[in-house]
């Protein structure tokens, strides 16, 4: 098993890791010949899951990877450790990332080259301890299968949704997220004493399945375009997603699969998080948040 690469865009990698910082303590890094994936599973059955991918050529150059398992490597790591290591790589002249062993423990090693004020070369080593997953463990990690969603809609500005949802959370531990095909979305919480419904309008619907960028297999709506589709999820999970605030507040697609889940797609552009519509910003990856419907 070998992995070694030059890091050309450590800032982008740092921001992805910062986004997931609040979700959990640990995450899985899946490295393949084409992409780098970060996977966070908070609770296999009822919790939020995050699956992300970034094209390796948006982050690295001189990328080398080899393993008996189809040239794929799965590493479990503590998010905070990787975050701190990447922070110290910001602004460096030259950064290398490789998988190696230190004192018998596998680590992801960042070798950061800087130049001091006097022109001397400074080399900083940041080691992130990792656990290498076995093939059996790797096979067990699969992206959730999600049926075609009934509605896709662009989220309103995340800041607004987050602060409103935070104030609604005191009124219930579950939230009903609904949207229709006419640019309207709602959040609802309720308890014995109070019910609150917040309406967002003027949103953009997408008429195709954005995750694969193909027309949806089932384009014929079974309801009128004004009718709402609803997924009831744990407020805690919904807030966790909203609090990933290093993600751009725009360009997030919300997909509702009634009685099944909420899926949010965030597109990553190479220069920032401008998403598909930003000029000069190629989409090089995405973050996909899966929030299962709350089991009654």
């Amino acid at each position: 098993m070998r992995f070694r690469t030059l890091v050309t865009n450590s800032n982008l990698l740092l921001r992805v890791v910062q986004s997931i910082d609040k979700l959990a303590k640990n995450a899985i890094l899946k490295l393949t010949t084409e992409k780098l994936h970060i996977i966070v599973i908070t609770d296999v059955d009822s919790g939020l899951q995050l699956w992300s991918d970034i094209a390796v050529n948006a982050l690295f150059s001189d990328y080398r990877i080899e393993s008996i398992h189809g040239d794929e490597i799965y590493l479990e790591f503590t998010i905070d450790n990787l975050q701190r290591a990447l922070k110290s790589a910001q602004g460096a002249l030259h950064t290398t990332l490789k998988l190696t062993k230190k004192q018998g423990i596998p680590v992801l090693s960042l070798v950061i080259q800087n130049q001091s004020n006097t022109g001397r070369e400074l080399i900083l080593n940041q080691d992130v301890p990792v656990r290498v997953l076995t093939p059996l463990q790797m096979d067990a990690i699969r992206e959730p299968l999600v049926p075609d969603s009934q509605v896709h809609i662009m989220m309103p500005p995340l800041n607004s949704v987050r602060s409103i949802a935070e104030r609604m959370k005191g009124m219930g531990d579950r939230v009903a997220v609904s949207a229709n095909r006419e640019g309207e979305a709602t959040l609802r919480v309720s308890n014995d004493l109070v019910e609150i419904t917040t309406f967002f309008r003027g949103l953009e619907n997408l008429t195709y399945d954005s995750s694969t960028q193909e027309p949806s297999a089932n384009p014929t709506p079974d309801r009128g375009s004004g009718e709402f589709y609803t997924a009831v999820v744990d407020m805690k999970n919904f807030l966790r997603f909203l609090q990933s605030y290093h993600v751009a507040p725009k360009n997030i697609v919300c997909c509702i699969i009634e009685h099944h889940s909420l899926v949010f797609y965030v597109y990553i552009g190479s220069t920032g998080y401008g998403g598909v519509s930003a000029l000069n910003d190629q989409t090089c990856g995405s973050l996909t948040y899966f929030i299962p419907v709350r089991q009654v």
């Binding site: 607004s160 409103i164 935070e166 005191g170 309207e184 109070v194 019910e195 419904t197």
Partner: protein
Amino acid sequence: MVITNRLGATATAAAARPTEMLFTARLNNIRPLVNMLRTINFRPRASCAINSGGVVFTVEEAQSIVAQAYLRTDLFAEFNYNEQLAKEYNGEQIESESESERDAVEDATHVSLPLDNLIECLTLFYGPSGNISNSSSVGAHGGAQSTSGMISSGNPMGLRGATTAHLAFNGLGSDFELMLEERGIISVCRLATFVPEAPVDLDFAQFPVIQQLIIRSEWLRDAFNELDPTSEAVGIAISSTAPYFSITTVGENGSTEMTYSKDERVLDSFFCSEEQENRYKLGLILKCKYALALSDKTKIRVNQRGFLSFQFMIPTDADVSFVNFLYAPLVHADELG
């Protein structure tokens, strides 16, 4: 309750049919209302009395403290109270009450509702929790807000206070409805209502006022901040000889006494026909701290039975609004023999 998502169906009550509802009102800015409600939010529930003069929210505790926030109609951009409907609604109420209770029923619609939740709904667009602005130096009431762990600086939404609100109520048995709007985002809130409990009437007016003064609230705030929290009671003494007005506590750490001279710069409209010192439960007295913090001036009155009234004059857009706190004394001076 039919739950629908369409804006039209759920929001019509609040916005579209003012003349058919018992009560509707509109506010262009919710902040004054929120502040007024926060002053009396020491219990989760409040009674609400609505008539053509405005709305009064009342909170009481332990039969020893009654706090009321008066919201006159001019505090609202629009105010509609349908007296005809009210008569029909209250008429039903009167049927079921005894003779003595009938006298207590004023010409108003009474309902009890969850005050904590009402304030939480009104502040939905206030921005990230933990960023509640508060002009008080003595801090905001707990229980008025649920705070999340996320404290962020600044206000990325930039929305606070520009929220407009529509209120609506159609008599007991229906929800109290609130529709808030800011920058195109609309929230519709429905609050459960309850049959109001018999009002606790400490009946201040029953006995003549023997002491009265108006004091600038900042002086009183200073005094409150000095009070010894380990003391059970606080003594308030007003006299026509020096010291004219004093506040004392006796606690584990000793006693404190604040006195005020009759100087016009400090005390205004001073009146004292009978000297008396009365004691009140400190914990209850301190519940008026937020009202005190918002007010410019406080009128203090004591009646012959030692009941104490604080009337806080709070500047709002529409002139001055009033919040009253009424306290029953711990032991009346007379009874000490």
